[in-house]
């Protein structure tokens, strides 16, 4: 009997046990919520860290006085002045190299001025401070700058400027931009989607509409689910072995008359990315096609349509929003992947925008990776700016996907 009372408390013992149970319930609820809180804090810490590095005080020096090169005030220099100054003061080898990349006369004033600062005046960053330091402890910052770098000037600099988006890469952090990387990423994603979307949607339609329920279909389905889980670097190795090496004649353009590149082109990388996002598109398109109610198909069959006619005129138009959402998710994935691009051969230093599918390339995540792994703090700052660009791009893509999904969601 006492055992019964032990397990099932009676009377006042019940109520005290109940209070204890409520207490444990509240503690557990707080624990569960704190897990979510940790996730939110981590996300905020990440975003804060990125933004913090992207803006701040910079202590810089000019190695050479601008007055050595010209007596004209800096803001009154015209294109012709700058071209003459550069021609006189750069070595002929360096000048000719720049001229070959792009004719000096056709460059913009901003471009030439940047060259002037970079090559001749040799603007040199001594050290940088983070945004919080710069905003809230500016007195300390000034004291430190005066103490350690008495010759340097202090300036509050935003590393993310419109010019940052428009400048090609450079070996000096102050003058580097992400233009080549952004164009590279766009080319990459374009080729990937061009390949993966038709193939993926076709495979999804086949699996949902045409495939008989036999062992082959099961194998294909399991296979696609497994491919979705393969690490991205294995896809990179596949791309290296197949596109860069085996099909070098095709991907380097040799078969089409282009002779100055090897297999590490934007085409190989785009196809590799296409294979990477293919399982994603297939799975999403399958869900979209599955969601179209069967009554529509039966109605089409009922009036005598063939299978392809029902798919083309009934199933696809209604599955299109879901397929669109899936392709936007695929684009987001393709924009953010780095590992396959490293393996397939993104160039480590390239200043020319990609001009066609057979050009060398670099991509936004690759730039972030390279700049992050440099020891100087300026490179970390521009890495942070590039991350901001990447995140803004991804955020707008995902927001568009969600908007589209909500707008076109139909209740059957």
């Amino acid at each position: 009997m006492s055992e019964y009372n032990e397990h099932y408390p009676q009377g006042s013992a019940f109520y005290s046990a109940l209070r204890k149970r409520y207490l444990t319930a509240t503690i557990w609820q707080a624990l569960f919520f704190s897990a979510l809180l940790i996730a939110i804090i981590s996300l905020s810490a990440l975003l804060y860290n990125v933004v913090d590095s992207g803006f701040g005080y910079v202590a810089y020096e000019y190695k050479n006085d601008p007055a050595e090169f010209t007596s004209i005030p800096l803001d009154e220099l015209t294109n012709e002045d700058l071209v003459i100054i550069l021609k006189e003061n750069l070595s002929s080898g360096a000048y000719n190299k720049l001229d070959n990349e792009k004719k000096m006369e056709t460059r913009s004033q901003a471009d030439l001025y940047v060259l002037f600062l970079e090559r001749l005046v040799q603007y040199d960053t001594k050290t940088t401070w983070s945004m919080t330091d710069s905003l809230f402890r500016s007195a300390n910052v000034r004291a430190e700058a005066a103490e350690k770098y008495p010759d340097a000037e202090l300036e509050f600099r935003s590393w993310l400027t419109p010019q940052f988006l428009n400048t090609p890469m450079s070996s000096k952090a102050e003058f580097a931009g992400v233009r080549t990387a952004v164009f590279g990423s766009l080319w990459l994603v374009g080729i990937a989607i061009l390949f993966a979307l038709p193939v993926g949607v076709g495979a999804a339609i086949y699996l949902q509409e045409y495939a008989p329920k036999n062992w082959l279909t099961n194998i294909i389905q399991t296979n696609i689910n497994n491919l979705a889980g393969v690490p991205s670097i294995v896809y990179g190795m596949l791309g290296l072995a197949v596109f860069v090496r085996t099909f070098e004649a095709l991907t380097s353009g040799a078969a089409f008359g282009v002779t100055d590149s090897n297999g590490r082109t934007v085409l190989s990388a785009g196809l590799t990315m296409g294979i990477l996002v293919l399982p994603l598109i297939i799975i999403n398109a399958q869900e979209a096609v599955k969601a179209v109610p069967d009554s529509l198909r039966q109605a089409a069959f009922g009036v005598g349509a063939t299978r392809w006619q029902t798919v083309w005129s009934h199933v696809l138009p209604n599955a299109l929003p879901g397929i669109l959402t899936g392709s936007i998710l695929a684009i987001s994935r393709a924009l953010g992947e780095t590992a396959p691009l490293i393996v397939v051969g993104a160039s480590t230093f390239i200043t020319i925008d990609p001009a066609g599918p057979f050009s060398k390339f670099t991509a936004l995540p690759i730039q972030v990776y390279q700049w992050t792994t440099r020891p100087q703090a300026e490179f970390h700052s521009i890495a942070a700016s590039a991350i901001i660009v990447l995140l803004v791009l991804l955020l707008s893509l995902n927001a568009t996907a969600i908007l589209l999904r909500n707008r076109f969601q139909r209740k059957w």
Binding site: A39, G229, V234, M237, A241, T338, I342, V343, Y369, T372
Partner: protein, 315 residues
Amino acid sequence: MEDTLKPRVADAQNFRQYDLKKKFRIGENLIQGILFVTGILSIFITIAIVYELGKEAMLFFALPDVTLVKFFTMTRWQPGIGEYGIVALVSATLTTSAIAIVIALPLGLASAIYLSEYASPKARGVLKPILEILAGIPTVVYGYFALLFVTPILKSIFGDGIQVYNMLSAGLVMGIMVLPLIASMSEDALSAVPRALREGAYAMGATKVETSLQVVVPAALSGIGAAVIVGISRAVGETMIVAVAAGAGPNFSFNPLEAAETMTGHIARISGGDLSYNTIDYTSLFAIALMLFLVTLVLNLISQRVVNRFRERYE
């Protein structure tokens, strides 16, 4: 009544002869063929992966100096000078993945329980997008975060006991990366448990946490197990976080305060440099990639088996 399904004898003037065979439409069959090819393409991709990785890995193992015994027992990985112990790389993969799962499993499961059992629809509308944002951040950004934010914090905690590149910071950030994956898959599993079980527990006087932990979670265990295995597979295959934050040389150690290189980080570093075909560096990379592919394949197959075997059916 006449049997209208029997083909009628043609009456030359008035009646057409019905042919009940399916009419051969060349467009239809062509399209079906094309779609079949796109469906089969995924199988070709898998075959291509296995073939290419296997071919180069075979070249690596065919070298006279390389034996499977050395591959699995030596503790240093330097193919250039004859050391072929992949355990040097596997130890780092295991350590970082273990740290990641230790972080992601409790936090992800707890988040999923909160989202599915406790959160109001409004709260869920705010919290789920945050998890989706965490899931969508590119892994290089996580690598940047690990190197430039987490490592300095760890350095201030451990002082000189921790190196600049270390597995702990990479493991912690990987845990944050895997957390949304485990949370969303577990939440799907928890939501699929029918309300009747919860209502039954409440009817017996259980508190919310008692039903969650003793009724709902055991019922959803297959889905949660699958989520964990997928999370492990993702952590094993992750490259950029470890490439940036964990270190640049193979090191056979399970000490998270040391620098080490994982399988994926090693592939990324070597292929980022000068790499000529048919060298031992090149073929050894494919051997590592083959192991990686097999490990993640086995993990994914196990997760599918777990779901199918232990799924509870409520009908």
